[in-house]
């Protein structure tokens, strides 16, 4: 039997997105992309974005990692599609607070299904699993390590 803290971490939605990650594919160019790597646990993700007129038209990912990192990436792609870049930035800030702030996220952005990730707050060693996809997104948006392909 799972205790309640563990059940809060491995909610059905996490198990489901780990088993069948959404938008789990490479995006055809033109695209932006960024790689995320967690050297401590070996989780590796690539996030692909197609941004047109300040809107995220497509967002996909590929990679390998634990259930928390895969579900976080999968839920992220679902949440971002159709958002403006500004809305995506606001969501990033809100998610960062949700995952790392002991008081939880305080903001006016609707998190919806993403709330399922709040359970990692109780697991300091697992927070990085959940934030990996979001930091990778940030770097794709900011174009820090992006490789923009226009073909």
């Amino acid at each position: 039997m799972m205790d309640s803290e563990l059940a809060a971490l491995y909610q059905d939605v996490i198990i489901d997105h780990n088993k069948s990650p959404r938008n789990f594919r490479e995006l055809e160019p033109p695209r932006r992309e960024a790689d995320g790597y967690n050297p401590l646990c070996g989780d590796r993700l690539t996030v692909y974005l197609r941004v047109e007129d300040g809107h995220i038209r497509e967002v996909t990912f590929q990679g390998s990692g634990c259930a928390i990192s895969l579900a976080s990436a999968s839920l992220m792609t679902e949440a971002l599609k159709g958002k403006t870049v500004n809305e995506a930035q606001a969501l990033f800030t809100q998610m960062h607070a949700l995952l790392t702030d002991r008081n939880g996220a305080e903001g006016d952005v609707e998190l919806g299904k993403l709330e399922a990730l709040a359970g990692v707050r109780a697991y300091p060693s697992r927070v990085k699993c959940a934030t990996l996809a979001w930091h990778t997104l940030q770097s794709a948006l900011e174009g820090e390590h992006e490789s923009i392909t226009t073909e």
């Binding site: 205790d3 198990i15 634990c66 928390i68 699993c129």
Partner: protein
């Protein structure tokens, strides 16, 4: 004789009895009795070690090799007695063949820098194996980059053994040193170190053995292995963190320059000319971890009292039980099937990432290590990013193995609802 051996077994305390000597093992984690199966990362400490270090600080604490006052004399005597105990425990001929270090990593860095710095040049080769822990790879890469020497790697087979013919093929007249583990931390494979040493010596190379995973599990005899360097950590043999050592065969150390400068390692210092102390003090710059050495001596006394051969036999029985039980878990894949195994079992479970497994098991009171175990080349060999690893100590019981297996079956239910 039957009666005699039965008596030996009866007199020998079982793991459940030995556990009582280790205060950390009596706790509960998430409401379950702790099943500590992460001994390859570090072992727990017996009361005797904790007490010895406490008593050292309560009574004898002083700096060593310099004061003439009573406490300094006592501390120095304790420190040197620990050196002699280590020498005897691993089969070194002389106490002065033991250099105290912070642990295995520092010991290998010492050998690579002090011996390698003076003896390696362009065109020379350093032979390691694919099985090595990062601490027996990176120090050699660093000295290779500085000296122009080349790092050569002997591969492992599918089972996680180093085939001797592959090792032998990579030895040649340019090989100056072969460095390999005694026991793999990732897979538990035991290397035929004496045979590998003989092959390396025949090619004219020196030999360093990384004994981090062996010293707490097997009787170690550096004389029997005939190696030139043997590196180990105290904290993997029931002593505390921050103490370990490097055995350097007599005669080799005399020609090795120091690798760190400071107090303790000199004979005389002037701005024109500094003379270095003889080994082992030449390699012990600065104030050493005297309390750690005192604790290490206590750990050795604890192990000697029980007898390493008997401990090894008891642990081996539990390991066999663990292998048998783990094979019964559906979807579990053992990683590596070494011909001879000590201490550790690596595995994966279909559909569950090792890190999730680590968290799920923790909630069942079971402590295991998950990740690449600082042996990324081994993970690459098996095309996996990580494994779960259960590793045993002298106090590991079949009950803990049952707790592990039950927790693994529960974890499978969480991931296949």
């Amino acid at each position: 004789m039957v009666v005699e051996s039965a008596e030996v077994l009866r007199d020998f305390p079982d793991a459940a009895t030995l556990r009582r000597d280790f205060p950390a093992l009596t706790q509960s984690v998430h409401g379950h009795p702790l099943a500590y199966l992460d001994n390859a990362a570090t072992t727990q400490k017996p009361e005797a070690v904790i007490r010895a270090e406490g008593e050292y600080y309560r009574r004898d604490n002083a700096n060593v090799h310099r004061g003439v006052h009573t406490l300094s004399e006592r501390a120095t005597a304790e420190f040197e007695a620990a050196r002699a105990a280590v020498a005897r425990f691993i089969g070194a001929a002389e106490a002065d063949e033991i250099v105290f270090t912070r642990g295995t990593t520092e010991a290998i860095n010492l050998a690579a820098n002090a011996w390698g710095g003076a003896n390696l040049g362009a065109g020379d080769e350093i032979l390691i194996t694919e099985l090595e822990h990062h601490s027996n790879i990176v120090p050699w890469q660093l000295i290779a980059a500085r000296s122009g020497a080349k790092l050569v790697v002997a591969p492992i087979d599918e089972d996680g053994n180093v085939p001797l013919e592959d090792f032998s093929e990579r030895l040649n007249s340019r090989t100056r040193i072969a460095a390999f583990g005694h026991v793999s931390n990732a897979l538990g494979s035991v290397n035929p170190v004496a045979e590998m040493t003989r092959l390396a010596h025949a090619a004219g190379a020196l030999v360093l053995v990384d004994g981090a995973q062996a010293v707490g599990h097997l009787p170690v005899d550096v004389g029997g292995i005939d190696c030139d360097f043997y590196a180990f950590s105290g904290h993997k043999m029931y002593a505390t963190m921050g103490i370990g050592g490097l055995y350097i065969r007599a005669g080799i150390a005399a020609d090795m320059p120091p690798w760190q400068g400071g107090g303790e390692m000199i004979r005389s210092v002037s701005f024109e000319n500094t003379l270095y102390a003889e080994p082992p003090h030449r390699f012990e710059a600065g104030t050493p971890n005297v309390a750690g050495a005192v604790g290490l001596k206590a750990a050795i006394a604890y192990l000697d009292n029980l007898g390493m051969a008997r401990l090894a036999a008891g642990e081996d029985e539990t390991l066999e039980y663990a292998l048998e039980q783990l094979r019964s878990v559906q979807g579990l894949n053992l990683v590596g099937r070494p011909a001879e195994r000590v201490g550790a079992i690596s595995f994966t479970i279909d559909g569950i990432h090792p890190h999730d497994l680590g968290t799920l098991l923790d909630h069942a009171g079971v402590a295991i290590r998950t990740g690449h175990h600082c042996a990324q080349p081994v993970m690459e060999h098996y095309h996996i990013p990580a494994t779960a690893r259960a590793s045993l100590g002298l106090y590991s019981t079949t009950g803990e193995i049952d707790q592990l297996v039950a927790a693994l079956n529960e974890a499978r239910k969480v991931f296949s609802p």
